[in-house]
């Protein structure tokens, strides 16, 4: 059994300001996505991806340039690509103005990476603005972060959940349960927090992970996604298909939950 549609709500692209082979990289994502059946990539660009400011602490100038590049990619391929607006919450005024500018440019969600801990009050105006505009917030998460790692101020599910509970009308995507750290730690943290939606992306393909999340949050809160590795995304899609889920549940995970949490009609699927 296969899902009727497939949306990747955690995608990334590159641009000329981030790496030399950006065009090959972007073409590879779209080509592989087509092979997998991805109809819509909801994507962000994190500044210059470290070239002129750190990936997770991108400067306002790099944030703006990266977002502009992302909007250009979405405009060039409106059938397959949608944009997040990426912001650095350490620069509140800039972040809020970028959200406003992003919505004008067609952005359908807000991307927070690891510039500031998720439960820091500096995130509040951004989460509030996203909720007011009906935009989900995709938040980079290090599952069970036990210490600080260089070049990022990563958050874990405990910290994201504190933010989500302060903003119950905003939906949060807990990034990449397969993307590093202990995915088992996040399960019980988010189990009873209905506005946190874990995504399956990341290079991790641990057996038992998908089943554990399905048991904890059910198919109406789990989002299939790929992030930086489409191959592991395909593996998790194939695993979901052999678990024995009902068609409705598979559709929820693979695209219908995304349709529910992104602005109405923004994905072009129904």
């Amino acid at each position: 059994m296969a899902p009727r549609h497939l949306v990747d709500p955690h995608a990334h692209f590159h641009w000329s300001g981030s790496r030399e082979d950006w065009a090959r990289y972007n073409a590879s994502r779209l080509h592989a996505g087509d092979a997998m059946g991805i109809e819509v990539h909801v994507a962000s660009i994190l500044g210059t991806w470290g070239r002129t400011s750190p990936t997770y602490f991108a400067s306002p100038a790099d944030i703006t340039a990266g977002n502009d590049a992302m909007y250009a990619i979405a405009r060039a391929d409106p059938a397959r690509v949608r944009a997040f607006v990426h912001v650095n919450p350490n620069h509140t005024a800039h972040a809020l103005s970028e959200i406003a500018r992003g919505v004008e440019a067609g952005a359908i969600g807000v991307k927070l990476s690891a510039s500031r801990r998720a439960d820091d009050p500096l995130i509040d105006p951004i989460a509030d603005e996203a909720g007011r505009r009906g935009l989900p917030v995709l938040h980079h998460v290090w599952q069970h972060r036990q210490r600080d790692w260089a070049m990022q101020e990563a958050s874990d599910a405990v910290e994201l959940t504190r933010l989500a509970q302060r903003h119950p009308r905003t939906n949060f995507i807990l990034a990449h349960i397969g993307g590093g750290g202990d995915w088992a730690h996040s399960i019980n943290v988010i189990r009873d927090v209905p506005n946190v939606f874990p995504d399956t992306s990341g290079s991790g393909v641990d057996r038992g992970m998908l089943e554990a999340y399905l048991e904890a949050v059910g198919p109406q809160r789990l989002l299939w996604a790929a992030d930086l590795t489409l191959c592991t995304g395909l593996a998790k899609l194939q695993a979901l298909e052999v678990i024995g889920l009902p068609q409705d549940a598979l559709d929820d995970i693979c695209w219908r939950n995304a349709v529910r949490i992104f602005p109405t009609g923004s994905l072009g699927l129904a």
Binding site: H31, D206, R207, L228, C231, L234, V242
Partner: protein, 266 residues
């Protein structure tokens, strides 16, 4: 024409993992998975043995577990080459028709320059056994606080491959960086005896696997699924998403590696 996608999965285990619950890591389930994924056989290790001081009891358990599945699940016992009497495990492996043995230097605290690694390589070459190394079982970022063994180093691989011109080596779970470091630090003859699975190699959009197939060569790679730790679908998925401009790919068969290992025995 074979109905199998791969002749063997060389990177499979059975048994419990000490740091988290694995769903049913049992030989009966592995056999069903192989059938579902159209894989002919599996070279199977005893997962707990990687952390045992003396792997012999776990090897006995492995042989007993796999006995009902002879010909499909092939035992790949664990050897600790700094343990008294370790050669007996090799002789036992030969008598059980094992294709390979597994050694875990990082979990045992064996340094890359340890003479016992070279001795192991020669002893395996003498007996026609492939040497299997495992880079990691889990992502570094999720390991249990007690799981302090680092990833296998390139120096360990080089030591074993260079130790004997007959030894055949399979390395499971390497990423692009380790593969490139080892491959380009070996002579062409040594390169030809060092094989890799691609279970932890990234596909698109980074396309590390495509890059490695172009540079190192697809013939250096053999299928490994990392069951029961990881989704066995991942390796096949990565292969299915190779860049379209890549020429047709023929990866190495496990049988060919084993035949090369046995070609020097009487």
């Amino acid at each position: 024409m074979s109905a199998f996608r791969f002749d063997a999965d060389v990177s499979a285990w059975i048994g419990a993992y000490p740091f988290r619950q694995l769903p049913h890591p049992d030989p009966e389930v592995l056999r069903q998975v192989l059938e579902r994924e159209r894989i002919g056989t599996a070279w199977v290790g005893a997962l707990p043995a990687a952390w045992h001081r003396d792997p012999a009891p776990a090897n006995s358990w492995l042989y007993a577990q796999l006995a009902p599945h002879a010909g499909v699940l092939l035992p790949s016992p664990t050897v600790r080459p700094d343990w008294p009497g370790w050669e007996r495990e090799l002789d036992d492996a030969v008598s059980r028709e094992a294709p390979s043995v597994r050694v875990y230097p990082m979990q045992l605290g064996i340094g890359a320059a340890a003479p016992c690694l070279s001795a192991l390589a020669t002893a395996c070459a003498d007996r026609g056994l492939v040497v299997q190394l495992t880079v990691r079982f889990e992502d570094l970022r999720q390991r249990h606080p007690l799981d302090t063994a680092g990833d296998l180093t390139a120096a360990h691989v080089r030591t074993i491959v260079r130790a004997d011109p007959r030894v055949q080596v399979i390395v499971s779970g390497a990423g692009r960086d380790l593969i490139e470091e080892v491959h380009w630090s070996l002579t062409p003859d040594e390169q030809g005896r060092c094989h890799w699975d691609w279970a932890w190699v990234w596909g698109p959009p980074e396309d590390h696997l495509g890059q490695l197939f172009r540079t190192v060569g697809a013939s250096r790679f053999v299928f490994g699924g990392f069951w029961p730790l990881r989704l066995i679908q991942a390796s096949g998925a990565c292969l299915s998403l190779l860049p379209e401009k890549l020429p047709p790919v023929t990866t190495r068969s496990a049988g060919a590696i084993l035949a090369a290992a046995r070609s020097h025995t009487a």
